[in-house]
Symmetry: C2
Subunit: 466 residues, 2 copies
């Protein structure tokens, strides 16, 4: 039992403790860990896996509560007798995930959803958190403004004006615990009688969200400028969800002309709106930043969505939405009674984080970090230039490799997998096939060091060059 | 300008800084504060109003950003020239609120939504928060489990088992940023094809939420045992939202017989469910606590909702929901992709708050505090015993006074208002009149001291005795 070689995937959707839990559970179910066998101490396993002790404790706690292991005072943890145990049915997906945990072991994971957490400003965060909890007392624990605290909304407006060319007032801003929540709230503001157009390929999270809210969702074809407005016109959709600053997943930056076309489309009918999800606009490595679509929204047609999850940390459940006038009125009439989903403490921390300059410094730091990784990746992929072309570079935290002919996407992914490299197929993001798709893989670089990118590129070039 | 006698209502929906902002804005608009007049310093005003300085700063910041006041370095704040200013349209409700702030000045506010924040365990909270931010690092800022952290869900299950007789597993628990959010999530899990029954009079927040989610909502008549199941049977509703442990607002505790009837109704058809909102079950001052309805849910028909907003502090945006088997599967299939709305830090704080015994101690403390206030209120209302009867006592944080004939509810409220006492009319909670309503007022006592209750009761008895 000294060799619990669990291959942890920190970027994975499944939290680390759960990966450990799932792995050990499986080993017990498979009989690889036999009844009565002693497990390593939480301290030892934490040290071995390089995770915090509380992570291992959580995993053991879950195993204990489900009866897979037993704890003997002063002696430690032991695998239990598992026959006849009561099980709560596990969903099918989890079974699939389990298989992944024990079977797939990745050395390099090019997830497009990564964030570099090593550069997170822990000290500043701790300091702000401590200051806020010391400064204030009862006021901090009273129910706050449903839209979010005024001062925080004000700080966001200043930021949006300077960084994104968006002219908004705090009255228009709504704070929420993540973009998923804000989209749900937006659905309640809009009502149910709408058809929503999404880009194809799409940011699946938003697509699935609209489906879960019972909307009719229509995928709209893209070209190199983004969503095709003439295709949009052929559909009955009255709301278009777009990611113009760096389309997810294709990385397309929508040029001004297409933006104007889209705004014109929205202006033609009263109930048409554009949802602009500006999820990673903070990261741009070349040329002058393009202001947000919302910056040109003279007719009050654009709903703007921004987030701190990408630019600060995924666990910061803090996003914001700027509503145009007509929807603001509807929000106030129908939805303002809904309580805020973000604690005042968190709002104050991020407000001071912005106001005291930490946010800008943090953005500059991660931007330069990501730019270096981006450059190293481009350099490392050069040997493949005859085989494929690079798309969606110079912005965000991922790029795409489009291969011409012969090889299939599945083959590319499988070859990488055999070398324990995880890459992502574009077809996962396609909602409706149009028959002209070329094999394309996504490579995210926020979560890998330059050295890791170099090494992984050497391998990818070798195996993909044919 | 030395007499900014702003009558702050700490229990109000509108945050304190906004009350200050609205008051000063009005004084400027009315010309009571004239152009060029100097405002008190933030420090002075904070001291005078007994609020934190940052509260006043927020109010001034908002006034500054809207151009009502101007700041001169080293000299302070001055009322600005307001003619020709650009205004963003304010919603009608705010206008109403403004009127309240400056015109209604309450000495005693019997809000039924109060929480005693003086007893909030600030030191423990600060300590836990500090420990957690020091202990852990990157792991804490990674995206967490969509359902909430396992260890926290586990702690909630233990609590529910001991305190509410609910047998659940962490797999069934979903953590969310407040009950409003969890109800929205539940709507996505359930889908749109349902008719929802609510108690009449109702907890308006839930009623409005279901309406905002485009459901047909039917109010069901109540008797002294809660929702009438025979009336429910006459409607097409397949989901019943109830508050059996202490009905909001009538305070009715649903007896076992009615609970069984309700469970039987749900068991008769596959798509029938009961939503049990156990919002203030922690507070009960007489007799043995009745286990939650969920404790008898052998047929997996009850969705259980609990919250820390009532029992810890309103700004703690943390509630939880226990799903029965069939809905858990639907959640996993359709909604598990939705990210958690609560930060890991907050989850860990509350988890340790529970596990290290702070929660139980805090509950015991507030329970005994509220019980004393409850007893003082009952004692203070005795002189009215010929005029009205008391309902809904012995649990929660409010009770009701039902008057027999002659006097109208509006009259009772108005009389109290003239003495600067705020009481709440039951008719505000009624969705559909049945014609037999008696004039009834709600008195909440969580937010008033015993002395305040005694004094307010003396006045109420005098003015309501006729």
């Amino acid at each position: 039992m000294n060799e619990l070689t669990i291959n942890l995937r920190p970027q994975d959707h499944m939290p680390l403790y759960e990966q450990i839990y799932v792995y050990i559970k499986r080993e017990i179910q498979n009989g690889k860990i036999v009844c009565g066998e002693k497990l390593p101490s939480t301290r030892a396993l934490a040290g071995y896996l390089e995770v915090s002790r509380s992570t291992v404790e959580l995993a053991y706690e879950q195993l204990l509560s489900e009866g897979y292991i037993e704890s003997e005072p002063c002696r430690g943890y032991f695998a239990a007798q598992i026959e006849g145990m009561y099980h709560i049915g596990q969903p099918k997906q989890t079974q699939g995930d389990e298989a992944q945990v024990s079977e797939k072991r990745y050395l390099y994971d090019f997830t497009p959803n990564g964030v570099d957490l090593k550069s997170f400003p822990y000290r500043a965060w701790r300091k702000l958190s401590k200051d806020i909890l010391t400064d204030d007392r009862t006021e901090l624990f009273r129910l706050g403004d449903p839209q979010g605290e005024y001062g925080f909304r004000n700080a966001i407006c200043h930021y949006l004006y300077q960084a994104r060319g968006v002219n908004s007032s705090p009255e228009q801003v709504i704070i929420g615990a993540g973009s998923d929540y804000l989209l749900m709230l937006l659905c309640a503001v809009l009502g149910r009688e709408h058809v929503i157009a999404v880009e194809n390929p799409a940011y699946k999270q938003a697509y699935r969200l609209f489906c879960s809210q019972s909307y009719e969702v229509v995928p709209i074809e893209m070209d190199q400028y983004g969503m095709k407005v003439e295709k949009l016109r052929r559909e009955s959709a009255n709301i278009a969800y777009v990611t113009p600053s760096h389309q997810y997943p294709t990385g397309v930056i929508m040029p001004m002309k297409r933006r104007m076309e889209l705004l014109r489309w929205a202006g033609e009918k009263e109930d048409r709106y554009i949802i602009e999800d500006d999820y990673d606009s903070e990261f741009r490595y070349k040329g002058k930043p393009i202001p947000a679509l919302k910056g040109y929204d003279a007719m009050e047609k654009v709903i703007y969505l921004g987030t701190f999850s990408k630019s600060v940390a995924p666990a910061i459940r803090l996003s914001y939405m700027v509503l145009p006038g007509p929807l603001l009125e509807r929000y106030r009439k129908n939805c303002r009674f809904l309580n805020s989903t973000v604690s005042k403490v968190d709002q104050l921390i991020v407000q001071r984080f912005i106001e005291e300059g930490y946010y800008e410094r943090h953005l500059n730091k991660t931007r330069s970090l990501y730019k270096s990784r981006h450059d190293v990746l481009l350099q490392g992929l050069k040997p493949l230039s005859g085989r494929c072309r690079i798309l969606g570079e110079h912005a965000g935290v991922h790029l795409l490799l489009e291969f011409s002919g012969e090889v299939s996407e599945a083959e590319l992914i499988e070859k990488a997998e055999r070398e324990r490299i995880r890459v992502y197929g574009l077809s996962d993001y396609i909602i409706r096939e149009c028959g002209r798709e070329k094999p394309t893989v996504l490579l995210g670089y926020a979560n890998l060091t330059e050295e890791q990118i170099r090494e992984a590129c050497r391998i990818l070039c070798r195996i993909w060059k044919k």
